[in-house]
Amino acid sequence: MNRLNNEAFTKATKRFVPYMMSSDPSPEVSVDIALTLQEAGVEALEWGVPFSDPLADGPVIQEAGQRALKRGGSLTKALSTMKDARERGLTLPTVLFTYVNPVLSFGFEKLVQEMGEAGFDGLLIPDLPYEESHSYREYCQKHDLSLIPLVAPSSRSRVEKICKDADGFVYYVTSLGVTGTRQEFSETLKAEIETVKSFSRVPVLAGFGISTPEHVSFFQKIADGAIVGSALVRKIGSLEEDLLDPERKHGALNEIKGFVQELISY
C-alpha cells in the first residue's frame, strides 16, 4: 500500500503538498530541497519532470523546467534523484508530475516499474484526462501507484466519474488557468469543492494559484489540503546561485524551510 493510502496521509487533519521541479537548480540540490521540505513539515511532495512544452504550466514552472533541462534534468533523472532522496531519508508520500510525452517516450510499463523501485507513490499527468487514462490507471493500481486525477470548475458533469475512480487524492484546480500565483479566487469555490468532496472517497486537495499563508489556510479549511507550486518554485529560482554554492547552500535551504513554514503557519 503506497504512502498516499497510509493513514498518515489519509487521516491527516491538514495537508500541505508542495510542487517542486526535479533537477532545479541541479539534480543533487533538488534532493536537498526535497529533504528540507520534509523537515518543514509538509504532508507529501510533487516531483516535477522538466519538459520542453509544459502547456498546463505557467511561466514560473516553465522556466524552472528550462533550468532543469540545462542541468541534465529528464524523466530518467527524476527517477534516479528520487531514489537518492529515499536513500537519504525522504519518507514523505511522493507524486511524479510529468506530461504524457516523456512518459510515452520512456515507455509506460517501464516507468511504473522504475517508479516503484525509486519509491514513488503517485503519478500525475496533467495532459492525460479521464477519457485517455483508463488503461494507465488500471496498470497503476496493479502496481500500487495512485494515478492522481485533476478536477476543474469547468469539469461540470464530469466531476462524478472522475472522482469515482480517483486514487491517492483528487487535485482540484481552484481557478481556471495554468499554474501560477493569483490574488482572487472564485466566490463559488466553497460550494464547488463541497460537491467534489461529496463524490470522492479520497482527499480533495486544492491547487493552482495558491501563494500566501492566508490562501493555504483558506483551502485547508474548505478542502482537504492545499498544493503550492509556482510560489515555491519561484522562491527556489530566486535562490539559484546560493543553492549552487556549497558555502551558501545551507543558508538557502533554511530560507526555503522558513518560507514553507510561513505558508503553513496559519
Partner: protein, 390 residues
C-alpha cells in the same frame, strides 16, 4: 476521436468540457442546413469558391509524362486553403455564442485567415505568435493588426510556432468559458483533427467533381504537401475509398540525413504534442525539438493524427522533399505556367517533378496548389541569390 491508435484528447482537464461542448456543437452544426447554407454562402461569395481546376500544359510537356492538374486553393481570399477552415470555425464560434477568437500562427497565414474571418464576422481576435516569427513576418503582423486583431508576442521557449501554440492553449485554459480557439490544421485534441478535415474536405469534393467534368475520370494520383496536414487531409479524404494513389510531401529541409528537417513521418517517433497522439520530432527524453524547413508553414514538429494512421496503414505514401527540390519545382511552375506557388506547395510539386515522368501520358496527376507564393518572394529571392553567391 481516434484514427487507429492516433489522435485522442491529451489536454488538461480544464479544457475537457470545452472540447465536449465543441464536439457537440460541431456535430449539431454539421447537420443544420442553415449553418451549411451560411458557410457555403461565405465560401462562395466572400472567399470565391469553388476554386478553379487548372490544367498545366507546359509543365506536363516539360516533365514528359502524366497530365498535371492543379487545384487552385491559392485563388481563395487571403491566398490559401486556410480560409476554408477559419470561416467555418468562425461561424461555429458565433453559433456557440463565443465572443472572442484566439489562434496561434507561425508564418502568419493562419493568423491572417483568422483575423480576416474575425473582421468579417465582427468578432474579437487575439493571435499568438512567437517573438522570432513576429520579427520575420513583420508584414503579416501588420496585416493582422490592420484587420483589427491583437497580435500577442510569445517569448517562452524558442519563440516560434510551437511556443505560440502552447501559449494559445494556456490562454484558452484561462478563458475557456467565452473563448473559441481556432486551430489552423488537422492537429490538436479531438474534435479538431476531425472538424478541420471536414471543413477542408471541400477541396477534395470539388476536385473530384471537377476532374470528372474535365477528364471524365478520377485522377490516377493525388499529391499534397503536409505540415500539420490540413490541405492534404482535405484533399485526400474524399478519395480514400477510391482507387487513387495518394501522396503527401513533407519537408526534409536540408536533408533527412541532417538534423535540420521537419520530416515528421520519416524521422519522428510516436508521441503527444498539443493534445493528440501522432508522430513527433523529439529527443531521447521526449522533449520536442525545433524542426527546420525553408517553408514556415511546414516547419512544425508534429503532424495530424489521421495522417499518422494513413501512413501506418499504407493508404497514403509520404515522401520527404528537401528545400532545394522544392525551390526547383517552384521555379518550374512560375516559369512554365505563370503561377508562383507557396514554398509549402512547392514540396508537392517537387514530388510531381519526380513522379510525372514515370507515368504514362494518359495518366493524370492532381496536385493541391494549397497557397500562393506572394508571401514567400523575399525568402525565394534570398535563397536564389544566396545560391548564386555560394
Amino acid at each position: 476521436g481516434r484514427y487507429g491508435e492516433f489522435g485522442g484528447k491529451y489536454v488538461p482537464e480544464t479544457l475537457m468540457y470545452a472540447l465536449e461542448e465543441l464536439e457537440a456543437a460541431f456535430l449539431d452544426a454539421k447537420e443544420d442546413p442553415a449553418f451549411q447554407e451560411k458557410l457555403t454562402s461565405e465560401l462562395e461569395r466572400f472567399s470565391g469558391r469553388p476554386t478553379a481546376l487548372t490544367y498545366a500544359p507546359q509543365l506536363t510537356e516539360h516533365y514528359g509524362g502524366a497530365k498535371i492538374y492543379l487545384k487552385r486553393e491559392d485563388l481563395n481570399h487571403t491566398g490559401a486553403h486556410k480560409i476554408n477552415n477559419a470561416l467555418a470555425q468562425g461561424l461555429l464560434a458565433m453559433r456557440m455564442g463565443k465572443k472572442e477568437i484566439i489562434a496561434e500562427t507561425g508564418a502568419g497565414q493562419h493568423g491572417v485567415a483568422t483575423a480576416t474571418m474575425a473582421a468579417r464576422f465582427g468578432l474579437k481576435c487575439k493571435v499568438f505568435m512567437g517573438k522570432e516569427d513576429i520579427r520575420r513576418q513583420e508584414l503579416n503582423v501588420f496585416r493582422m493588426k490592420l484587420m483589427g486583431a491583437e497580435v500577442i508576442e510569445v517569448t517562452s521557449g524558442g519563440h516560434t510556432l510551437k511556443d505560440a501554440t502552447n501559449e494559445a492553449i494556456r490562454h484558452w485554459v484561462a478563458h475557456v468559458e467565452d473563448t473559441f480557439y481556432i486551430i489552423g490544421s488537422v492537429v490538436g485534441p479531438h474534435p479538431y483533427p476531425m472538424m478541420v478535415r471536414d471543413f477542408q474536405r471541400i477541396i477534395g469534393d470539388e476536385s473530384k467533381q471537377q476532374m470528372i467534368e474535365e477528364t471524365g475520370k478520377l485522377p490516377d494520383e493525388v499529391v499534397a504537401c503536409v505540415g500539420g496536414g490540413s490541405n492534404a487531409m482535405g484533399m485526400f479524404y474524399p478519395f480514400l475509398d477510391d482507387d487513387v494513389r495518394l501522396t503527401g510531401a513533407e519537408a526534409a529541409g536540408k536533408g533527412v540525413e541532417t538534423t535540420e528537417h521537419a520530416a515528421t513521418l520519416f524521422k519522428g517517433r510516436k508521441g503527444v504534442l498539443h493534445g493528440s497522439l501522432s508522430y513527433l520530432i523529439q529527443d531521447v527524453d521526449g522533449n520536442i525539438t525545433e524542426p527546420y524547413s525553408i517553408s514556415a508553414g511546414l516547419d512544425y514538429p508534429g503532424i495530424g493524427p489521421e495522417h499518422a494512421h494513413l501512413r501506418d496503414t499504407k493508404r497514403v505514401q509520404y515522401v520527404p522533399i528537401t528545400d532545394d527540390e522544392a525551390m526547383d519545382a517552384l521555379k518550374d511552375l512560375a516559369e512554365l505556367e505563370g503561377i508562383l506557388p507557396a514554398i509549402e506547395t512547392a514540396h508537392a510539386l517537387a514530388y510531381v517533378k519526380q513522379k510525372a515522368p514515370e507515368m504514362d501520358e494518359d495518366e493524370v496527376l492532381l496536385v493541391c496548389l494549397s497557397g500562393r507564393g506572394d508571401k514567400d518572394v523575399q525568402t525565394i529571392q534570398a535563397k536564389v541569390e544566396g545560391d548564386v553567391q555560394s
